[in-house]
Structures are given as structure tokens and as C-alpha cells.
Amino acid sequence: MSTVTHAPAVPRSNALKRFFTAREIPVAGALIALILVTYIINPRFLSPQSTKDLMLNATIMVILAVAQALVIITRNVDLSVGAILGLVAFGTGTVFDMFPTIPLVLVFVIGMIFGGLLGSINGMLVTSAKVPALVITLGTLYIFRGVLSSWAGSKQFFSGDNPKAFGNLSVDTLIGIPIITIIAVVITVAVAMFMSSVRSGRDLYAIGSEPDAARLFGIPVGGRVLSAFIACGALTGLAGVLYASRYNSVGALTGSGIELDVVAAVVVGGVAIFGGSGTVAGAAIGAVLLSTITGALTATRVDKFWQQAIVGVLILAAIIIDRVVSLRRARKLRVNEAKDV
């Protein structure tokens, strides 16, 4: 009866250790290394203007990655985000065209509701059809893109068509940080808080980790997954509005192919592709890393041709590091427990 006397010691969480074993650390490390190396090769890489450009380029990807992470954590994926972004961006141009004096806040609200509606279509199909989200959203990707093509035709909206105040969101800064970047940071922090410390956020992890167990446990799986898709759509809609502010023109092709970049950013950021683990902060860092690589390669005069290959290597590296870390952790647990008994 050796275990009778063995009261379990209450383990204290070691905040510092926890910090360094977090899955985000390797990605953040890679980002810092990338910036430092590029800066050493070309100091102009961190000039004020260049820094601002880096942040602006990362902003939209960060929001898209945070949105996508919500869905991927539930063991789903939304591949239609590129088309949603395009629809909302073009819609934003249309709204300004029709109501040039509309308050900016209202434009954001409309964009998020539009995105949320599109997301809810994905969510309802996924939760009711019981077909993998990969297939469903691949379908809606083409449908949404088709709708955008016939709506936009050859029409394009240019930044000059929009109110000046709207374009300025991507120009003006607050303590050196562009307004839209601040919006992205605020959203990342808010979603991260939700995912780590609100019960329904934790439910999303549970669902992604083991959907059957979640059902047996009484977690409303369908409702939560639907909400994740709606949230993803709404945040993607927000990114679409910001896209219209940031870039010179929006049209039928806006956002084409961006969905794979987004999924790549999320995976590089340490979110497991089969759900259940990873954080939105990690996804955001992954997005910054991928968008910074482009800038870094330009600054170091590396052929742009290599950019995609490097992103591919990063995805594989992220997965391998993750796997090695979890194997090592499992072995350590085994040895520790053997000592404990």
C-alpha cells in the first residue's frame, strides 16, 4: 500500500519555466533573429519608415491569423477567408461610393456583419452537414469568389475614391504605430484573453481536442463551432475593411490565395492543425514572421523567388519542433513519474 501515504504534493506552477516552454517561444525567437540578422546586413531595415511599413504589412495578416486560429483550434478550418476578405473590401468601396459621408464606425460595423454572415454560412454548413470543414469551405471559397467576380466585374475602387479620413487610418500613427496596427493588437489581446480565460473560449479547445468527449460532457459543440466560424468571418470582415483602407485598389481579385498564407501563419505560430492546442498570440506572431520575411528578403536583396520556399521550410520546421518538444515532454513526464512513485 505504498501510495496510501503518498499525499500528492500540490505542484506550484512555475511561471518562468512555463513561459520558456510555451509553443510560441520558438516562433518569437525566429522572428527576433530574423529582424536582428536583417538589421545587421542592412541597417535601413529598421528605419522609421521601413518599420512602419513592416507593421502595416503585418496588420491584416495578424487579424486574419487570429480569426483563423479560432476555427482551427476547434479542429476545423476556413479556407473561404480570402474570398470573404475580397467581398468585404469591395463592399466597403461600394458603401463609400453610395454614401460618401457615412460615419467610419458604421463602415466597420457593416463590414464585420457582412463577414459574420458569410462566416455563419460556413458554420451552418459545417455543423449541419457533418462534412469536414476543409471541403465545405473549399466550396464556399469558390462560391464567394464567384459572387465577387460577377458583382465587381472589371470595376475597381481606388483609395482616392474613399474619404480621406478612412485612408488616413493606415497612414496616421500613435506613438509611431499605425492606427490599424493598434486595432490589430487590441483584437489579438482581446481574443487571446477570451481563449485563455473565458469558459466558452476553453470549450473551443476542448472541442478541438476531442469532439466526442466534448459532446458527452455537455458542451454545445454545434453552437460553439458555429460561433467560431461567425467570429472568424466577422474578424475577416474587419480585415477586409482595413484592406480597403490600406491598399490602393480593391476589385474582383482582392484577397485571392491569401487563405493559404493565413493557414501557414497559424501553423507556423504553433497552432495544431488538428485543433486542441496553440494560442492566438502564437498565430499572430506567426503572421508577423511570415510578412516580415518578405520585407527582410527585399532588404537583404535576396531573390524574391526564394520567399515561398522559405515559408515552406518554416512550416515544416514549426511542425518538427512541435513534435520533438512534445516527445521530449512525454519522456520527461515518464521519467519524473517513475521517480515519484
Binding site: A7, P8, R202, R215, G218, A330, V335
Partner: protein
């Protein structure tokens, strides 16, 4: 353990049942899962539910849990009609269920697994992880198990998973606690501790429904026993007034002979030789041999390293030193392929995850290990596959409507037979069976035992890991007992008694320190810690 319950219920009529189900039925398409589900659980009683697999126990549990809604019948909770549409509603009514298969979230921490959906809140309505961790640690202290609340659930042993399920159920503070075979993966000490907790809950006035295939537990713990057969309620008894044979007779509707029929087999040459096997942190100095026709049981508490030894022998896990040989030829470490080629078959503990491909047909599962011999020019002929599967299913009496049905539709016992068939088709020299009858009902259990005994009779060497003492004592020619990663006793069939095995398994003084006085023993133990 086998004594009657300490407190027999005084008067049942006087109290409002915590839960009462009468004549509940449930059909799935043409299949009648439950024809007459009837059970009454009083506050402050432990009520056992027994019946063979397929008797409808799990369906009844799922009705109580709100997973299924009954097609007919009456369901009262605290005297009021209940119509649960989902699990949350049954939980809200104070019913908490421990399911047969652990249902954890592998990516979440142990503490979060216990409290998911009702995590303690701290500042600003946000989850307080510190408080959650503290409460989880408290639960583990009550249960007396050293599990770190902060570790993620992935990689926990089945026993630890089951303990977390129990902690989860207890933490709900339910009026009715339903335990569907909670002890299937637990052994000795852990079962005893679970029972202590169950009795404490009974004292507090909770009603407990306890489902188990182990009679000594049913009789040791329960106040009343309800028997089910073929989806129907048969009878309810006061535990003190009934005997095991009477219950078994009601369960199977026929008399059962010897539950563990090990036939004498001719013992041949050494088949498996394990020499000085070490794996740091898991097991040390493992030496043993198994001869043809011999059944050797590997006994011990859950976590003693039995499964790990078996996995190392079969080449699933690497080991740090030592050797494994079959018929004198050394096996390559860490290569199941080599082990299979040398003639080892492995029937794992967790057959649903490791033993079967649940979505594939019965035929495919049986012939999985035969792919090469069934193929011509690398292409498997469907006809030959079916023929081979048919042949083996018949020999093992697998009960299935069709060879083409997914194996997930079979009962636990029949699934186990499919796993056995899969390995027997390879004509193994050594068969490793890990908990061969876990979660299998009495009737099929005896069939599985008879099968294993038959195999030994045909000259196959068998290594059987089992946490059920009667199974170990009834089946094994030799018993090896493990404790904390070492073999602490080797007992012949004649010497093996429940007491000796348990002593060696718990590492208690009688087995390990026969010659020490109390003082010497305590110094010894101090030094060891």
C-alpha cells in the same frame, strides 16, 4: 472484499427515490437496445447493475445521462418527471456519469479536464487557474493519487484517465453518481480507494449506480443489485440476501460452469527469453522465459510497468539494455515488424484504439496481418480475403451479422475475438494479451478464456497481462508479479494465491522484507524515498 454490504437498506418504501426509471425503451432503427429499462436508486444507497454485454446497461446509462432520450417508459428524478434533451440538462438535475471509456481532452491540462465548462472564476469573471489547480489537487488528495494537475492529459495511463473521470464526477457534487465500469482499468489499491470514496458519498446521501463485471466488487460494495438480460429488467435483490451463482444464472439465463477453464497443455521448449531488460524510468532487470504451451501471467498494480514490458518485447517501445529472443534468435529492438516476423502477436489493452481499425469491416480487420499472404502480385483479392476472414470468424465464433459490417458495431467481447483472430491468422509462436477481458461480459469472458487456453494447448506460448486476480489465478501456469518496474515474485500455479500475488504487487513487507523488523523497514523505506 467478498463480504456483504455493511449497511443494508432499512426501508426502501419510505424514501423518495433519487431516480427511478420504469419500463424505458429505446430502439435504434431495427435494433432494440432497451426493451424494459427499470431501475430505482435511493438516496444513500449503492445500487449495482449487472448483466452481460448487450443486456442494455450502457443504453440505460445513456438515458440517465441525457445522451439518449427514451422512446417510452417513465423517468422520475426526485419524484418529478424528467425529460432530458441533452447532457447539460441531466447534469443540472444532479446526475453525474463516469463512462466506460475515459473521455478526456488530451490537449488540456488535468485540472482543466476536471473543470471544463465550470472553471472557477476569479477577477472580472475570468477563469482563475490557481483556484482550479488547487481544487484539482484537493480532489487528488481525497483520492490519494499523485497526479500533477498541470500536466496535459495526453499520455496518461488508462488507470490515471479513469481516476480523472472519477475526480470529475465527484467534483460535480451530484445527487446521483453513475459509474459505468469504473474499475475496469484499475487494480487493487485504486479500486479500494474508489470504494472508500463511494461509501463516503453514500454517507452524505448520494445515490450511486455502480456497473461492474467483477462480482467481488458488486458484492463488496452494493446495497442492492438489479439484474438485466437482453435489454430487460429481470430482478432486483438486496445484496445481503443473494449469492453469486444466483445472479449469474439470472444474467445468462443458464447455468455457467467453470469461469476460467485452463486446460492442461504439454509444456514444450523455451519460446521467449527476456534477459536483463531495462528502460530507464520504466522498468529494470526484467528476466523471464515462456515455454511453448505455457500461459504466464504478468500481474501487478496498474502502473507497475507490465504493459511497458510487453510493448518493449513486441518492439513498440525502445529499451536501454537487455535482450529479447524468440526460439533462441535475438530480436531487433524497437521493431514490431521484426517481432511479427519472428512470430509474436500482440493483443493490446486498448483494443478500440490499438487493436482494431474501428471503421473497417470485420473481414478487413481479421485479415490486416495477412495482407502479404493474401495478395497476388501485390493486389489483395477480395474473395480470398473474405474466405480467410470467414474461416477465422467461425473458428472463434465471432458473432456478427455480416463480415462486411464495420467492426465498431460489434460488442466488446466480439471485438476482442476479432483482434485474437487477426493475430491467430498469422500462426504466432508467442501471443501477448494485455487485459484480454477488460470490459467483457461473463459469458464472452469465459469464451475468451477458453480460446486462450485452446491456443496454449496448440503449443503457443502466452504472456497474459491481467489486473483481475481470479483470471490470473485461474488461467496462468506461472505468475510473474511486478512492482514499481521490477519483477518481485515468480509463483507457480500451485503456489499462486491471491494473498501472495497482492503482497508482491504492493511491495508489502511480507513479500519483500521477510526478515526485517518494523524499525529496519521504516529506515529502509525512508532511504528509498
Amino acid at each position: 472484499m467478498a463480504t456483504a454490504a455493511e449497511t443494508a437498506p432499512a426501508s426502501h418504501a419510505a424514501r423518495t427515490p433519487a431516480l427511478s426509471l420504469r419500463g424505458a425503451s429505446k430502439t435504434f432503427g431495427p435494433v432494440i437496445a432497451l426493451a424494459d429499462g427499470t431501475i430505482e436508486i435511493l438516496p444513500g444507497e449503492i445500487h449495482a447493475l449487472v448483466g452481460e454485454n448487450g443486456a442494455g446497461k450502457s443504453t440505460l446509462v445513456k438515458i440517465l445521462a441525457g445522451v439518449h432520450s427514451p422512446d417510452g417508459g417513465e423517468f422520475l428524478v426526485e419524484g418529478k418527471p424528467a425529460h432530458f434533451r441533452n447532457v447539460s440538462e441531466s447534469k443540472a438535475a444532479g446526475i453525474s456519469v463516469i463512462y466506460q471509456e475515459p473521455t478526456l481532452f488530451p490537449d488540456l491540462t488535468v485540472a482543466e479536464n476536471i473543470f471544463i465548462g465550470r472553471q472557477p472564476k476569479g477577477r472580472a469573471g475570468l477563469i482563475s487557474r490557481g483556484e482550479m489547480r488547487r481544487r484539482a489537487a484537493e480532489l487528488f488528495t481525497t483520492l490519494g493519487v499523485p497526479i500533477d494537475p498541470d500536466r496535459i492529459a495526453d499520455g496518461l495511463s488508462i488507470a490515471d484517465q479513469q481516476i480523472i473521470e472519477i475526480a470529475k464526477a465527484i467534483s460535480l457534487d451530484a445527487n446521483v453518481l453513475v459509474m459505468d465500469e469504473p474499475t475496469a482499468a484499475l487494480s487493487g489499491v485504486e479500486v479500494e480507494r474508489l470504494f472508500t470514496v463511494a461509501r463516503a458519498l453514500r454517507e452524505k446521501g448520494a445515490g450511486i449506480l455502480f456497473i461492474s463485471h467483477r462480482f467481488e466488487e458488486v458484492f463488496g460494495l452494493s446495497d442492492r443489485i438489479t439484474v438485466m438480460r437482453d435489454g430487460r429488467y429481470i430482478q432486483v435483490h438486496n445484496t445481503a440476501e443473494v449469492t453469486v451463482p444466483a445472479i449469474v444464472k439470472e444474467m445468462v439465463g443458464r447455468e455457467l460452469g467453470d469461469l476460467f477453464p485452463k486446460q492442461d497443455a504439454e509444456i514444450g521448449d523455451v519460446v521467449l527469453k527476456v534477459d536483463g531488460l531495462n528502460s530507464i524510468g520504466t522498468f529494470t532487470g526484467i528476466d523471464f522465459e515462456i515455454r511453448a504451451g505455457e500461459i504466464v501471467a504478468l500481474s501487478g498494480l496498474v502502473g507497475a510497468g507490465r504493459t511497458e514490458v510487453a510493448r518493449a518485447v513486441f518492439g513498440i517501445d525502445p529499451y536501454d539494455s537487455g535482450s529479447v529472443s524468440i526460439g533462441g534468435a535475438a530480436l531487433k529492438a524497437h521493431s514490431p515488424r521484426d517481432a511479427i516476423a519472428a512470430g509474436i502477436g500482440f493483443v493490446p489493452e486498448d483494443r478500440r484504439k490499438q487493436g482494431l481499425v474501428l471503421d473497417l469491416s470485420v473481414a478487413r480487420n481479421v485479415t490486416l496481418t495477412l495482407r502479404h499472404s493474401l495478395a497476388r502480385f501485390g493486389i489483395i483479392s477480395g474473395r480470398r480475403e473474405r474466405a480467410a476472414a470467414e474461416d477465422w470468424s467461425q473458428r472463434l465464433q465471432v458473432k456478427t451479422g455480416s463480415q462486411e459490417l464495420p467492426v465498431s458495431t460489434l460488442s466488446g467481447g466480439n471485438q476482442q475475438k476479432v483482434v485474437l483472430a487477426k493475430w491467430l491468422a498469422t500462426d504466432p509462436k508467442l501471443l501477448i494479451v494485455d487485459e484480454p477481458t477488460r470490459g467483457i461480459d461473463v459469458g464472452t469472458k469465459a469464451e475468451v478464456h477458453r480460446l486462450i487456453s485452446d491456443l496454449a494447448g496448440r503449443g503457443i506460448a502466452i504472456l497474459m497481462i491481467s489486473s483481475e486476480l481470479p483470471e490470473v489465478l485461474g488461467m496462468a501456469d506461472r505468475v510473474l508479479v511486478m512492482h514499481e518496474g521490477r519483477i518481485t515474485a515468480e509463483l507457480s500455479r500451485a503456489d499462486a494465491t491471491a494473498e501472495r500475488v497482492m503482497q508482491a504487487a504492493t511491495g508489502s513487507r511480507e513479500a519483500l522484507h521477510l526478515d526485517l523488523t518494523d524499525e529496519e523497514l521504516s529506515t529502509e523505506l525512508e532511504a528509498g524515498k
